[in-house]
Amino acid sequence: MGRVRLVIDRQAIEVESGTTILEAAARVGSKIPTLCYLEGINEVGACRICVVDVKGKKEFATACNTPVEDGMEVRTNTPALRAARRATVEMILSDHPMECLTCIRNGNCELQTLASQLNVRTVRMSGATHADLPCDDSTSGIVRDPRKCIFCQRCVSVCSDVQGVGAIELQGHGFEAFIGPPPNLKLDETRCVQCGQCALVCPTGAITEKDETDKVWAALFDPRKYVVVQTAPATHVTIGEMFGLPVGTDITGKMVAALRRLGFDAVFDTNFTADLTIMEEGSELIKRLTEGGALPQLTSCSPGWIKYVEHFYPKLLPHVSSCKSPQQMFGAIAKTYFAEKTSRDPASIFVVSVMPCTAKKFEAARPEMDTAKRYWNNSHISQDVDVVLTSRELGRMIRRTGIDFAVLPDDEYDEPLGISTGAAAIFGATGGVMEAALRTGYELVTGKTLEQIDFQEVRGLEGIKEAVVPLNGVNLKVMVAHGLHNARHVMERLKAGELKDYHFIEIMCCPGGCIGGGGQPIPTDTEARQNRIEGLYQVDAVMKYRKSHENPAVKTLYEEFLGKPLGHRSHELLHTRYVPRP
């Protein structure tokens, strides 16, 4: 690649050819405002906020997608540019509901920030065209409020290109154009997997998680209910961001303290059932290897991924592990084993999950996730998991109480469902489930102690990763993919019969794994994903137990209640079925 010399805001700079004006300007200290731009994902230049003046050109250029040229003279801040940017924001605001104070994104909205930065003080135009569009709350996880849509198309790019789903598109043409599912369809009538990546990148409140905090408040103050909470591995390193802590900080102890202060009767950890998942899923893999069954085995922890397979590759469902996700295993165990052990009426137990994920709301509502009801044959028992809160919702609940999160002392989880290992901690990162499975699988199969327990090959943000692990004379071939676009590559190869010699494949719906989930704090970008992943590996490194089969509470659970992995009771409580979807 050649080098290009240019001048930006009177500063001479030399950059690689192919660099955009936006990137080059940032290097000379000029931060050009943007709105629709999303690095590497949405560089369509739709909003025209990042316009710059290029000497000799009659028209403005968009900095986000215009590459630098040799000898270019760029101005990023002239009266005409300021006027154009402000006029554009004013136009957007003329068709945007001014509900900032009651909007879920109040204080964390890119349009709000931009209007403030550009000193927009009046809106001289009227005539909103979107004001009457109805809200779409048809899905369990995601709410679309098209009135607040500003046509940036980030959601479209993420849904089509990053996730390969294409549930929302730019529909229609010209002045009748809108962004959403095809006309007359609601989101739950499409192949939307409810991953929430659209909500993560939406600059405004047009796509958000479905807020269910009020249901949790009601349960917490209902004396008839015993409210237990579980926290997903990926939430342990993210919720601090909402309280000003550095991205990737391990806030496990503070989160436990905050949950206890919110009034939860027992504070447990999904990491416990992550260890349990490894016991079941690892045993399932060994069974498929030794007794036969569809190989490679695909992981099943990620509900968006499950829904994706059900829609797009129903014929390959036999490859998917029958194990429930850790969230659903927890719900089932809480309302059976834990109820029995503590002599509680299972109908009084109310299970709340804190998840990095909007699709978990869909998963909890799946009709088959009512194991406890069937186990006790008691129609008063509700779904195994009653309410799923995303990381963002828990953050809002904590804010609402005035708990000063950043200064909370560290607290410990309750026993027994709060005990976990480092293997469970890394479930939140892409490759984590694979690594956890390898740590346990190796020792279960060989009977030897695994010396080198860090599997670096499956770590990191590369889209598709592979490793070969020698296991009792067999070379176990594994693959890890994250983001559904990458998953699709894997599935196409599987469909074509190219992956017959692979044994185990981990797939996570969201880029980076659950730390990049659709329910995580906003912003979630590549840097945030990287920092959160590092945070999880640090948590793992200092844990007392780092292999799932060493978890003492899981051992007790098998001794006292389940029997053995893949046993009769495990099948009843911890395994599930999938349904092909159109």
Binding site: G45, V51, T62, A84, M91, I92, G127, F151, G174
Partner: protein, 99 residues
């Protein structure tokens, strides 16, 4: 465009019909074109049918037209914006604030 004595009715009719062409071609992808042409049309409609038009509205039309003319993604919006600017400057007597 010539700039002789203009019949206000003819000028505003011309502006409206030219913008209608632009509206018909606008794809809906870039924001200034999408919003701008719509907002400008709304004000020009008022000029055309004799409704009250404020000085602020006309000033806003000028600013929007410049923004669209210089900043739209493609030639459709850019031409639309420039046409409006051209009309505003040549026929200022037609585009006067009216109470």
């Amino acid at each position: 465009m010539h700039s002789g004595d203009a019949d206000p009715k003819v000028v505003s009719e011309l502006a409206r019909s030219l913008l209608a062409l632009v509206r018909g071609e606008s794809c809906g992808e870039c924001l200034p074109c999408w919003h701008g042409i719509r907002q400008i049309s709304a004000v020009l409609d008022k000029v055309d049918n004799g409704s009250p038009v404020s000085a602020e509205e006309l000033a806003a039309v000028g600013e929007l037209a410049r923004t669209v003319g210089q900043g739209a993604k493609c030639g459709v919006g850019r031409i639309g914006g420039r046409l409006v600017l051209e009309l505003l400057s040549r026929y200022s007597s037609v585009f006067q604030a009216r109470v």
